[in-house]
């Protein structure tokens, strides 16, 4: 799932030296004895911790696993799962796999694009929302399926989905509620 159009106003995803997340990542690499074949596992963990894979993060992983940065970058860009740009605070992933397609997933995408105001693979300018598409979530039994903020939902109608997304957009963002 690619993302583009990045805004400067994003959650703090930069990694400082004392960042606890770096320690967790270090522990993951240590558990794998810094073996190069653990690269994908390490990238999964890094993305889970930081939300996306920044150039600095990729370079530090390369250094720890004794791999050339080009190899790490090559792997990170090969797989759809890894995102090199920050994701929005909320995410909506719409399955466009065959089973969902046959049951009208395209209409869901149109509805979501309308509600959020960006196209698939993009993040809103204020960084609140990312819209993505997927190739089958394995939930074809309840097609069409979507994932909103990590939760899978099935038998979704365009109306339900837009209502859901509009409500999320209207709710105060995590950043604002913290301050």
């Amino acid at each position: 799932m690619e993302t583009s159009s990045v805004s400067p106003h994003m959650r703090d995803t930069s990694a400082s030296i004392n960042d606890n997340r770096l320690k967790i990542l270090e522990a993951t690499m240590k558990r794998n004895q810094y073996r190069p074949d653990a690269l994908i596992e390490v990238l999964h963990k890094a993305q889970e911790l930081f939300g996306f894979l920044s150039p600095t993060l990729l370079i530090s992983v390369a250094r720890s696993l004794h791999l050339p940065p080009s190899r790490v970058y090559g792997v990170a860009t090969f797989y759809h799962f890894f995102s090199l740009a920050p994701q929005g605070e909320h995410t909506c992933t719409i399955c466009l796999g065959t089973a969902c397609y046959v049951r009208g997933a395209n209409n869901l995408m149109v509805a979501a694009e309308g509600a959020i105001g960006v196209s698939a693979g993009k993040t809103t300018a204020d960084g609140t929302f990312s819209l993505a598409s997927a190739r089958c979530l394995g939930a074809c039994g309840i097609a069409p399926a979507v994932i909103v903020d990590g939760v899978v939902a099935g038998n979704v109608t365009p109306r339900d989905l837009s209502a859901r997304l509009v409500a999320l957009l209207a709710s105060p963002s995590k950043d604002e509620s913290r301050t």
């Binding site: 799932m1 073996r35 190069p36 074949d37 653990a38 690269l39 994908i40 596992e41 990238l43 999964h44 190899r71 090559g74 792997v75 090969f78 797989y79 759809h80 799962f81 890894f82 796999g97 065959t98 089973a99 969902c100 397609y101 046959v102 049951r103 997927a134 190739r135 089958c136 979530l137 394995g138 939930a139 074809c140 039994g141 309840i142 097609a143 399926a145 939760v151 899978v152 939902a153 099935g154 038998n155």
Partner: protein, 529 residues
Amino acid sequence: MDLHELQQIARRERERRRRIRIHCCTSLGCHASNAIEIKRRLEEAVIAAGLEGEIEVAGVGCMGFCGHGPMVEIDPENILYEYVSPDDAPSIVASIHGGACTAGRGDKNHPFFARQYPIVRKNGGKIDPERIEEYIAAGGYRSLYRAINEMTPAEVIDEITRSGLRGRGGAGYPTGLKWATVAKSRGDRRFVVCNGDEGDPGAFMDRSVLESDPHLVLEGMSIAAYAVGADQGYVYVRGEYPLAIERLQKAINQAKKHSLLGSQIFDSALDFRVDIRVGAGAFVCGEETALIASIEGGRGQPRPRPPYPAESGLWGKPTLINNVETFANIASIIERGSAWYSGIGTESSRGTKVFALTGKICNTGLVEVPMGMTLREIVEGLGGGAPDGGTVKAVQTGGPSGGCIPASLFDTPVDYESLAKVGSIMGSGGMVVMDEATNMVELAKFYMEFCMDESCGKCIPCRVGTVQIYRLLEKITAGEATPADVDQLRALCQLVRDTSLCGLGQSAPNPVISTLKYFPEEYDALIKP
């Protein structure tokens, strides 16, 4: 761990059980429709009714009827409830003693259930996948014990060969033959890999097996490890399947704790460890050489074969790669014998196959049927045909690598050879049903877009050819194409099929070729004279 301990675990589990079990499906489909809350409310209702001594609530794997979920079943009464909501919980508990139930009743005598033959899915919807005790009480790990203690590795391979089992990952390669090749390949170490990448959109059999009965897959892998002499296994699971990964990891931990994985399994010389590798969203990683590259931590790009992984796989060592469903058949074959297994199915395709019925069909879900059943029986008999009075037009088997089979050919028996004869493939078991509302040219374009996006870019025919085919299809659907464009489309399809390096490119034209063959009028309607 020895046989006695295994039997003890099973006995303790049976003694622990209450007379009545309320099975609550907590697999992905039902999980996404509030199943966890339903389970919680059922537990509350049992306590509120003071029936804890008689009734227990168990979270179980997929019951197969995912389209009618959330599903709840009363065992042993064999009563099924569908579209259950949390508010139904008290009345479901009350119904056990004759109260009225607000939940809708499912019909277990419906052909959807009655015509199935569960082997791979034998425990699906019956046991709690997060408790190894339940798997053992259902006879689990007995086959592994038997293989290690009563059979030589060669005898195990022989038994699998005689069963006629063929790979369920798509190509249908004879499993016994593959095991024998790995066993006799030279190497100081051997590996067993379970392919759970399941990238074909519309297919979710492997996810369901991993979520519903992970130990069945682990037991099959361990038997394979004993047969081919491997000491390390990997299960490669798609990153899109977090629930399957979580349950499989729990199962591995429990098996380790009970010494059913690790060193000296059943006090024998067999050492076998299993690790999970999580995929990162690349369809091509389902291809075996790409999968190996991915496990090694690299870009998942295929390489030419030979050498086959059986001779030179992970880190250059002999590697056995089988699909999830293939491994899930093994314990039953060892338990009940190859003669029993080869008695099911057809001459060339033995046993059963799990299919995911999706799309424009009434009964969406998973079915496991003997090979050789006709498409008509599966789609209309078990699947109940198209919903809302529609008419089924075609079914796509094998996903982006497969073909579209028109309703006029629905008397085709489902086996490897017959499906190939009508221009499709068995594939991994996805069956996407289309009705009149589906435009077949659009569908072909949809699949081509998929292959274009998923092409790994290593070889030119696939990397460039899929883009060219996609552009031609765009031109056709836009109503701007001439008959010459269609001729070019055909020629390109042939070229990509014949010259691509791996199965992705070789089979990418299949949806176009089959729709051109069976639905030419839909193309003609869009062509400028």
